[in-house]
């Protein structure tokens, strides 16, 4: 009975998280287009629903009904597999992400996370790293030169930025003495780690932009040069899988920023429910992502590599050293 209840609870949580993540791109695309519009001195979508709120739904319907194109010489199986591979890991990551502590319902203690692993942080990095396969396979299987160039870039980029990203959080782990995200958040009850780890946060955020393939590091799709990069040949729902995955990764990076450096659901000054605090903070980072997208140009491939290896990596190592000295 105990076991059955636990399994039911976990299943319910997984379903809820998955559902939220699947629906999330709807408000996010609307928000992105609205923010883009207002940054660019125009209104953004206005036609479908009040201020265009139903625009993403219309877009979704359009994508669903679009012809599913597969290039003639493509590796058909891999071509179909790639969007799924790219979609699954960002969702799996959320197994390890806590959204809050716990609350009691009908006398039972219900935790706001699916699993609190003692290697949580490492798990997230490991699984998030798998997302690159979708991009690689998508680009390679399309049998298109633009797609191939896009996925080659993506390969090199993700490998290069995973290293400084991994190193940048070591400082946090050293301070919290744990890799469990729950412990990390609880350790920030008084002071957020961004105070102790400004350098670590900077490296993490920049590398996060690169991991999420957003401007100024969106070289894998770089529409100015490569058409649409790795998903040049994709259409319809398969294309939207890549898009959903991009949004979920963006949310993941924002969530991680909040959990690792901005105190998770710990509020300050204004007493709000923890979950609201959490959502507000995550929302701020998502907004930051979008703001960057409509402000910056993108780097060139070699410049991107130089930043990763010659700037971020030494900075992240210096951060570890400084944190070590600080703790001692």
């Amino acid at each position: 009975m105990e076991l059955a209840l636990a399994v039911a609870l976990i299943t319910a949580k997984v379903v809820i998280v998955t559902a939220i993540l699947l629906i999330l791109p709807i408000p996010l695309t609307w928000l992105e287009r609205k923010i883009a519009g207002h940054i660019q001195q125009r209104l953004g979508p206005m036609r479908v629903g009040w201020h265009g709120v139903l625009q993403p739904v219309a877009d979704g319907l359009k994508l669903l009904t679009k012809e599913d194109n597969i290039p003639v010489e493509a590796d058909r199986r891999l071509f179909k597999l790639a969007p799924i591979i790219s979609l699954v890991p960002p969702f799996v990551v959320f197994v390890a992400i806590p959204f809050g502590d716990s609350f009691s319902l009908l006398g039972a203690e219900i935790t706001l996370y699916i699993s609190d692993m003692n290697v949580g942080l490492l798990f997230i990095f490991a699984v998030a790293g798998l997302e690159v396969y979708g991009v690689i396979f998508g680009g390679w299987a399309s049998n298109s030169k633009y797609a191939l160039l896009g996925s080659l870039r993506c390969c090199a980029q993700l490998i290069s930025y995973e290293i400084p990203m991994g190193f940048s959080v070591i400082g946090v782990v050293m301070l919290a003495q744990s890799m469990s995200l729950l412990d990390i958040v609880n350790a920030q009850a008084d002071v957020w780690y961004v105070v102790y780890q400004p350098l670590g946060f900077f490296v993490f955020f920049v590398a996060g932009l690169a991991e999420a393939q957003r401007i100024p590091f969106d070289l894998a799709e770089a529409e100015g040069e490569l058409g649409a990069g790795f998903h040049t040949e994709y259409s319809g729902m398969r294309f939207s899988f890549f898009m959903i995955s991009e949004y979920v990764v963006m949310v993941t990076i924002s969530v991680l920023c909040v959990i690792l450096f901005f105190g998770g659901w710990n509020g300050f000054l204004i007493p709000l429910p923890p979950l609201i605090w959490f959502i507000l903070k995550v929302g701020f980072f998502i907004y930051l992502f979008m703001w960057f997208r409509f402000t910056f140009p993108r780097y060139r491939y070699d410049q991107l590599m130089a930043i990763g290896w010659k700037v971020l990596l030494p900075l992240s190592l210096a951060n570890i050293l400084l944190t070590g000295l600080f703790i001692v």
Partner: protein, 169 residues
């Protein structure tokens, strides 16, 4: 329950490992290898060693395989010519050696009492947590650890020098 999981993962691991060798398209081989790594990681989890499992995915699947694919894509091999790696008659002694080795292994397995009295989980030896592992590495096995890292560094430098020379030619 655990045995069922183990058998599933193990069978998948073996099947995908066979795929690595038998598939014709190098990218498909790489995918099989990736699947194999993930199965091995799952087995680590069953052995109560989540840290190793995660590291397995992080390093092998997340980094090394991506580099493999990078090279494969750079060369843009779509259908590799599956070369026989040895001419016909030379295969006989190799097969013989492999058979003997296999038999040896089987006999060792069957005669050992490990099958009857399985040892304790890896987890109970090391407790499985990262902190324990770190202590073991940096206190009990510090010297071997440092030696290994120096060797890796040397290999690293060597690889860079080799790659650089090749460019100049």
């Amino acid at each position: 329950m655990e045995a069922i999981f183990f058998l599933t993962f193990a069978a998948l691991a073996v099947a995908s490992a066979l795929g690595v060798v038998l598939l014709r398209n190098p990218v498909h081989c790489a995918i099989s290898l990736m699947v194999c790594f993930i199965q091995v990681a799952a087995i680590f989890v069953l052995l109560r060693s989540p840290f190793l499992a995660v590291v397995q995915i992080f390093v092998y699947v997340g980094a090394i395989m991506v580099l493999f694919l990078f090279v494969i894509m750079m060369l843009d091999i779509r259908t590799a010519v599956l070369e026989r790696f040895l001419p016909g008659w030379e295969r006989v002694p190799i097969l013989g050696v492999l058979t003997v080795l296999g038999l040896q292994m089987l006999i060792m397995l069957l005669t050992s009492d490990r099958l009857l009295h399985p040892p304790a989980d890896a987890g109970t030896v090391l407790d499985g947590t990262v902190a324990e592992l770190g202590k073991a590495l940096f206190l009990d096995y510090l010297l071997p650890f440092e030696v290994v890292s120096v060797v890796l560094l040397v290999a690293f430098v060597g690889a860079i020098i080799l790659a650089k020379r090749e460019r100049k030619e």
